[in-house]
Symmetry: C2
C-alpha cells in the first residue's frame, strides 16, 4: 500500500508545488514508483511536468466526483517511475459541488481505497504526493483525510511562520475527527537565502519549536528552480547539478532514511 503524503500549507507561494514535483522526481530517480495528485485548480504541478491541456481529459476532478478511477486518471510524466493525476480549472468548481456530496471530506480517501481489492488494478506506487492549493478548504481537507502524513513546505519568512500554528492546529483537528492516523512527516525549509538574516531567525525559531520534525536539509533559493517549470521539467531534469536539485536529492534521502526507521 502506497504511503500518501499531503504537501499542505495555506500560506501562498511557499514551495508546495516545487517540492511536490522535485521530491517526487528524486524519489522516482532512486527507483521508488511515485504518483503526484494535483489538487490545485491552478494545475501548476501538471504544467511543471509538461502535461499539456490535451492530456488532461481525465483529471483529479473526475476522480473526486467518482466518475473515474485513480489508476485510469494517472498519466505518465515522461520520467521513469513518475506518474501524475493532472488537474484542470474544473477543479475550482469542485469545492461547491463537493459540499453537497456524501462523505465530502473522504472522496479522495475513498478513491484510493477503491483501488485496493481483488477486482481492481492495484495502485502500484511506493509514494503518493498530493499537491494542495493555498487554503484550508475542502480540497486540502480531502488531501489530509487521505494522507498518512503531512509534509509542510515552509518559506523562511514572517508571514509564512505566522500561518504555521494555524496549519498545525488544523492537522490536529483532522487527526481527532476524520483521520486518526494522520501524522506530520516533517517541515522542510524552502527558498532559504543565506544573505538574509530573517531566514536564519525563522529557521532557528522553527527548529526551537518543532525540533526533529524539521528536516536537516534546507532548500536554498535558486533561480534554476524557478526557471525549470517554463520548460515543463523538474529542476532535477532541467539542471541536476544546481544547488536546488542537489538539495531535493538530499531531502529524498533524508525522507527514505526516516521511512526505514519507522
Amino acid at each position: 500500500k502506497p504511503r500518501v503524503l499531503a504537501l499542505a500549507n495555506q500560506k501562498g507561494g511557499v514551495g508546495k508545488t516545487t517540492t511536490a514535483i522535485n521530491l517526487a522526481t528524486a524519489l522516482a530517480a532512486v527507483g521508488m514508483r511515485t504518483l503526484i495528485l494535483d489538487m490545485d485548480p491552478q494545475g501548476n504541478a501538471s504544467t511543471g511536468l509538461g502535461i499539456g491541456r490535451h492530456a488532461r481529459s481525465t483529471s483529479i476532478y473526475e476522480v473526486l466526483l467518482g466518475e473515474a478511477d485513480l489508476v485510469d486518471a494517472a498519466v505518465p510524466s515522461g520520467i521513469p517511475n513518475l506518474d501524475i493525476v493532472p488537474s484542470t480549472i474544473d477543479l475550482s468548481g469542485a469545492e461547491l459541488e463537493l459540499v453537497e456530496m456524501e462523505r465530502r471530506a473522504h472522496r479522495l480517501r475513498d478513491a484510493i481505497d477503491r483501488q485496493v481489492g481483488p477486482t481492481k488494478k492495484p495502485l502500484d506506487y511506493a509514494y503518493i504526493l498530493v499537491d494542495c492549493p493555498p487554503s484550508l478548504n475542502l480540497l486540502s481537507l480531502n488531501a489530509m483525510v487521505a494522507a498518512d502524513a503531512v509534509l509542510v513546505p515552509l518559506q523562511c519568512e514572517f508571514f509564512a511562520l505566522e500561518g504555521l500554528s494555524l496549519l498545525l492546529k488544523t492537522i490536529e483537528r483532522v487527526r481527532h475527527t476524520l483521520n486518526p492516523g494522520l501524522d506530520i512527516q516533517g517541515v522542510v525549509l524552502t527558498m532559504f537565502d543565506r544573505r538574509n538574516n530573517l531566514c536564519d531567525q525563522v529557521a532557528r525559531d522553527v527548529r526551537a519549536h518543532l525540533g526533529a520534525k524539521v528536516y536537516q536539509t534546507v532548500i536554498p533559493r535558486n533561480v534554476r528552480i524557478s526557471e525549470a517549470p517554463s520548460h515543463g521539467k523538474p529542476a532535477l531534469i532541467y539542471d541536476y547539478r544546481c544547488p536546488g536539485s542537489e538539495a531535493y536529492m538530499r531531502l529524498a534521502g533524508e525522507l527514505l532514511r526516516q521511512e526505514r526507521a519507522r
Copy 2:
C-alpha cells in the same frame, strides 16, 4: 464615495498583502484617507499593521454576516489617514456560511452601500483597498463585486504568469454577471530581481499582452520589505529609504496620476 480596489490574484505569495499594506501607507502619506479590508483568513494585512488579536473583536467576518457596520469595524492603524478592518480565523468558516445566504456574492458591496445614506456615519475614505486570499472563492468574489477595479500584483515567475489568464477571465466573467463597472486598475510587477533573466522575460511578456495596463513602477525584491511585517509596520515606516519603500511611493504617485486622468 471611496474608490474601491481589490488586490486579487489566486496565485499564492505574489505580494497581494505587501502591496495592500505599502500602497495604502503611501496613499495615506500623501493625505488620502485610506481603509484596508483584510479579506484573508490568514490575517496577514492585520498583523503586518501591528493589529493585535485583542483589537480584532469586530472583524470583516461580522461585517459580511451583517452583524456589524463597516465603519464600526474599522480600527486605526496608528498611521495617520490609514484604518483597517481586520480579519480573524473565523473568516475561514465564512465561505461555507456565505454559500447559504441571500446575495452571497454581494455581502461586501451591500456593507459598503449601507454606509451611504442620511442616517449612517459616512465612509470618509478616498480609497478602500481589499486584500484577497489566494483563491477565486466566495471571499475574492465578494471583493470583485464590491470593487470599482482590480489591482493585480504579479510576481515575475512562470507559475504566476500561468495564472494571469485565468484571473483575467474571472474578472471578465464578474463584469458580465455581477459587476458591470468592474475594470482592471492595473498590473504591478513585484519581487523583481534584476539578476534573474526570468524576471525580464516575464515582464516583457506581460507588457506585450497588456500594454499600458502594466504600471511603469516595478517593485524590486528587497529584504527590508519582508522584514517589516515582523515589526508590525509597513516597509514605508520600517525603512522609508529602502528601494522597496521608494518603489511603493512611486506606485502611489502613478496610481494618483492615473486617477486624475480618469
